[in-house]
Symmetry: C2
């Protein structure tokens, strides 16, 4: 193979459409552009100002409708609240080209699969559900970052109807963004995310709510330090997005919460009993696990 043929080879994704050009979608486009893996990028969104900004930033080449995206794109990436999935897919379906792969970035997967089946019917094989485990406090196209997915995990929960060719292609696309792909069952995904993402968000928000509504909240806030800052950071997240996540993954979150409450009762009992040894054992197990995770995750 000559150098010239490499240069002129079609990019991995000739035409990409991003539905919802914020941090997640914008970063996906930026990462593919950075790696020379994309030809043309189309953007779909409800806010013209946001699309204009995405074009100024070079994240997208053109703002289009959902119908145009369906007609033109090779890969369609949904980075919208999970509650909007069914509506969006229903609008994509009539003009969707046969070879196009549609994927998403939603935080829950079982409900997305259900919505996709309802919307796409016989075209369901073209939809591969996904969830990149990456994010940041910042939002919007300005926050888009070509390195957001580097070293991060992307979960795919493929359907029986997906072809192995399509799955391989989407895996290569994510790998070209620097991510590692894990394949799992949607239910397993949702159970695990209930544990490591949704329950912590609930606890952080409940705690923040309790402090904010206390009669002496002013003095509490005045004495809150860096531990409080870290523990409550996620509570600042979008109420609408998180309401949808909790509702979509309700039974897994409730089940996981029971486990955490049982552990909390044990710790509380040790404190009631002033059992220093039991307290220290439990604190030590937690500290060692957290330090080990921190050294492995690349996230600290």
């Amino acid at each position: 193979m000559s150098a010239a043929s490499v240069v002129h080879a079609a990019p991995l994704v000739p035409v990409l459409a991003i539905v919802g050009v914020g941090l997640i979608g914008g970063s996906f486009a930026a990462a593919l552009r950075d790696g020379g893996a994309v030809g043309r990028v189309l953007g779909v969104g409800r806010q013209p100002s946001s699309l204009a900004r995405a074009r100024e930033l070079g994240l997208i080449d053109e703002a289009v409708t959902l119908e145009q995206a369906a007609q033109q794109a090779d890969i369609i990436f949904l980075s919208t609240p999970v509650g909007a999935t069914e509506t969006i897919l229903s609008r994509l379906k009539p003009t969707l080209r046969p070879g196009t792969i549609v994927t998403d970035a939603g935080s829950t997967k079982a409900d997305v699969v259900e919505a996709a089946r309802a919307a796409l019917g016989g075209h369901i094989g073209q939809f591969i559900p996904g969830h990149p485990i990456a994010g940041a406090e910042s939002t919007g196209p300005e926050a888009a970052d070509a390195s957001l997915y580097r070293g991060r995990t992307v979960v795919l929960t493929p359907l029986d109807e997906n072809t192995s060719e399509a799955k391989t292609r989407l895996t290569r696309i994510w790998e070209s963004c620097g991510a590692r792909v894990m394949v799992m069952d949607p239910q397993v995904h949702d159970t695990v995310l209930a544990s490591v993402s949704h329950v912590p968000h609930l606890l952080s928000s409940v705690f923040m709510w309790q402090v904010a509504t206390a009669h002496d909240s002013d003095i509490r806030m005045a004495l809150a330090g860096s531990g409080f800052r870290d523990f409550t950071r996620i509570a600042a997240g979008s109420p609408e997005v998180w309401r949808d996540i909790f509702l979509a993954n309700r039974s897994a979150v409730l089940a996981e919460l029971q486990e955490v409450k049982a552990a909390l009762n044990r710790a509380e009992q040790a404190l009631q009993d002033a059992d220093g040894e039991e307290l220290e054992n439990f604190l030590e197990r937690a500290a060692l696990a957290r330090r080990f995770w921190g050294s492995r995750s690349g996230l600290t």
Copy 2:
């Protein structure tokens, strides 16, 4: 006043002794040095290697015994686990000079006051309890930072026996480190810290323990992202230090925990009922409060 007389004026603290030269004590010494507010710095500690390192780093001028510190220092700063307070003060007492002020940096105050009364007896007026609301994940003299207290709150819980002169002097010293001083009752301090520091630490540790001991902890850890990282960061803290804090502030922590559990039960009920409006209201209140705190605290 001529410039020369300013240059030759005695520093705010002619001789400072730091008991426990780690992040907290080392940063106090570094901040005072940075501001030209200290003459000579003595260091007391159990680990000769740590003291040698503190001297190499220029945090202390000399390593001394507790007895020598009591004889020579104008200000003695205890930055040791709160459980050690009584023993240290008992050893300082016999050689303590009348004008010397002893203060501390302990995370709980009612138990420290009790320990100080038991140890110092008639000399209790020389002890002013304190708690700088500052810290970091890092520990040891290497982590010492002259700017650690800049813009941070330092709580003093003075005793009836403290002279106003001594209280004013200690306030000036903290202000010269860039901190703002808040004066409050030790019980109020302990109640507020139970809320904004101790309960979050307990929740974070309980959660981390539950994830780490789950049968499928490997896959959970693999899918944990930046929200998990922030929420569990405090769980990596020293098990010994936190065991002491929980035991020292047991009743306030248990009382505060009841409030948080009541709030958790309400949120859980809303989720059980799939009550999206109630969920969103509660998430929104928490998010707004956290964002407001973040914009005010200077900690985000």
